[in-house]
Symmetry: C2
């Protein structure tokens, strides 16, 4: 085996969409674990909209990735060397090891996963961060109740697809918004949403109103921001909850971000808009993983991964998130053999 560790490092802070020149593709020696450390061979990396935010300078819920540092990413892999009594060679783990073939950890940020229970890549998706984001966002932040109507944007995406399925499991009405007829068909036929409307269609507004049947929205779970957020704000029921999970339509803006013009409908409807990141619920991850894995095992919760291959394809693959080309949770296979 090669003794080199290929890595993607952040070379410059992007303006708008990340360009090739914003990255540096490097090779260094595979590190040797020190006292208490674990060396993990990365099998899969998770590509997520949040990564775009980590590339910007400035205060956020997590420090930005430094220039010259390996790009931060969620990963799953196999322990190949360990000086930590908590981890043995051959263990499978998930953790934030970044876009590289081998990562070192002191073990505190690693979670053991079982590839016999579910394919390894699902620990980056449906029973990983996106699944937990959907779970805590809908049930804790959104406080969704039986019988309520939930509208979710990015409905075919890693988070949105699970939001709608949990809505159905919990007795609600799930209406998705997605880009394109294929995605909408998948959301309704495969995932069991009550309806899905295509925001790229000329009849989007009429279709949305028809799906709502003249009624309003109790929970709007927003992954996209921009105009769709405003359209949802105009359709809130009294005491509605707007869950701000992301704003992928705005992440690559070079002009000022579009604020929600209809925010005063929060006043009219005594509604609230609340943001969160999944890390806020770290103490409850066990509960969330258990629920997601159970529903998945019972066939009530379906996951779809969009897997691309090769660390060298990282920059181009990441861009698929922003063009909406991915269909399902976007995962990059890093392991070469």
């Amino acid at each position: 085996m090669s003794t080199l560790n290929k890595q993607y490092r952040l070379a410059a802070r992007p303006v708008g969409l990340p360009k090739d020149s914003d990255w540096e593709f490097t090779s260094t020696e595979i590190p040797t674990p020190g006292e208490g450390e674990v060396l993990v061979k990365v099998h899969y990396a998770s590509l997520d909209p949040a990564m775009r935010g980590w590339m910007n300078d400035g205060k956020s819920y997590i420090a930005p990735v430094g220039i010259g540092e390996v790009m931060r990413a969620g990963t799953v892999g196999e322990v190949v060397a360990s000086n930590n009594p908590g981890f043995a060679v051959g263990d499978y783990v998930s953790g934030m090891l970044g876009i590289q073939q081998y990562g070192l950890s002191n073990g505190t940020d690693l979670t053991k996963v079982d590839p016999n229970l579910s394919p390894l890549e699902n620990y980056l998706g449906g029973i990983g961060m996106p699944g937990l984001t959907a779970y805590f966002g809908l049930l804790e932040v959104g406080a969704m109740q039986d019988g309520e109507t939930v509208l979710v944007s990015g409905a075919a995406g890693a988070v949105g697809s699970i939001v709608g399925q949990i809505t159905k499991i919990k007795g609600g009405k799930a209406i998705g918004i997605a880009g394109g007829a294929d995605k909408c068909k998948y959301v309704v036929d495969e995932l069991g949403f009550d309806a899905c409307v295509d925001y790229k269609s000329d009849s989007f507004i009429d279709d949305l109103n028809a799906a709502l049947g003249g009624k309003g929205v109790d929970v709007y779970f927003d992954n996209v921001g921009g105009e769709i957020l405003d359209i949802a704000l105009a359709r809130l029921n009294r005491h509605a909850r707007v869950v701000i999970c992301g704003a992928i339509s705005q992440y690559n803006n070079t002009t000022p971000l579009r604020g929600p013009q209809n925010y005063l409908n929060l006043l009219v409807q005594h509604a609230r808009m609340e943001g969160f990141v999944v890390f806020d619920y770290i103490k409850q991850y066990g509960e969330g993983v258990k629920a997601l894995a159970t529903w998945h095992g019972e066939g009530k919760l379906k996951f779809r991964n969009h897997v691309e291959t090769g660390i060298e394809n990282f920059p181009a693959t990441l861009l698929k998130l922003f063009s909406g080309e991915n269909f399902g949770k976007l995962v990059l296979t890093i392991k070469e053999d």
Copy 2:
């Protein structure tokens, strides 16, 4: 006494600031109360930012004022004729009788008030709707806790002035935003806020940061919207609450409303933004009035009214709200003798 009842009626839906031609000044016979009805001679009318919203067509928390109808307004006055056993001639009452000298009511929307306990005009201000708006907005919607930092815009206004004073009563730090040095001096010296910053000053941002002492905001109580809302959103503490009470900077816009561009800080800080109107708390008004009147009686809560005189001055006086010319709760004396 004249048998005519002067009234201001809505003649047209304003575009931007209300113009003279949007009003019709009429005189009709003073009505005679029918079975169960009460005739009230209006002493004072309350002029409030919310009135601008009632002049627009479209769905809101309350039906718009119809073209040709007497302009809706909160009032206090004296019962001068009654066919309702609940009210006697000589009773003082508050109710939504509108911009007119005499109003009829079936009594269900009237509340008896005691001018010996507090001057009549205070029932339109500190112990009326603005006081209740501050009370429920800060303590229920904002869920303000002992030791927290509360930032409030419109700090010299009818609602904002009370928000900061309740903050102090409840053990918090109160920082106001107001327009002009005189208002800021009043807010600190008379009302006891910890600090007040002048948004019209060139050093506004620096002054605000200095008042916050490098710390963030736990509750932002927003009466103004626009750029100041964005400035506050950028300074939220974790789990902060943004209370949307109004957006006076935006009510006369003829261009699209400015949405809060910094709303994604809700995500970063796991914060929430929630709107309300005081009518949402109608069942708790008694509790609120009692608390406000008690604090006022103990000298802990001060009110300032800006009283103008003459029903014929209604259109011009209303505009003072939007230019910020009023200093204290804006009240119009309607009673002529």
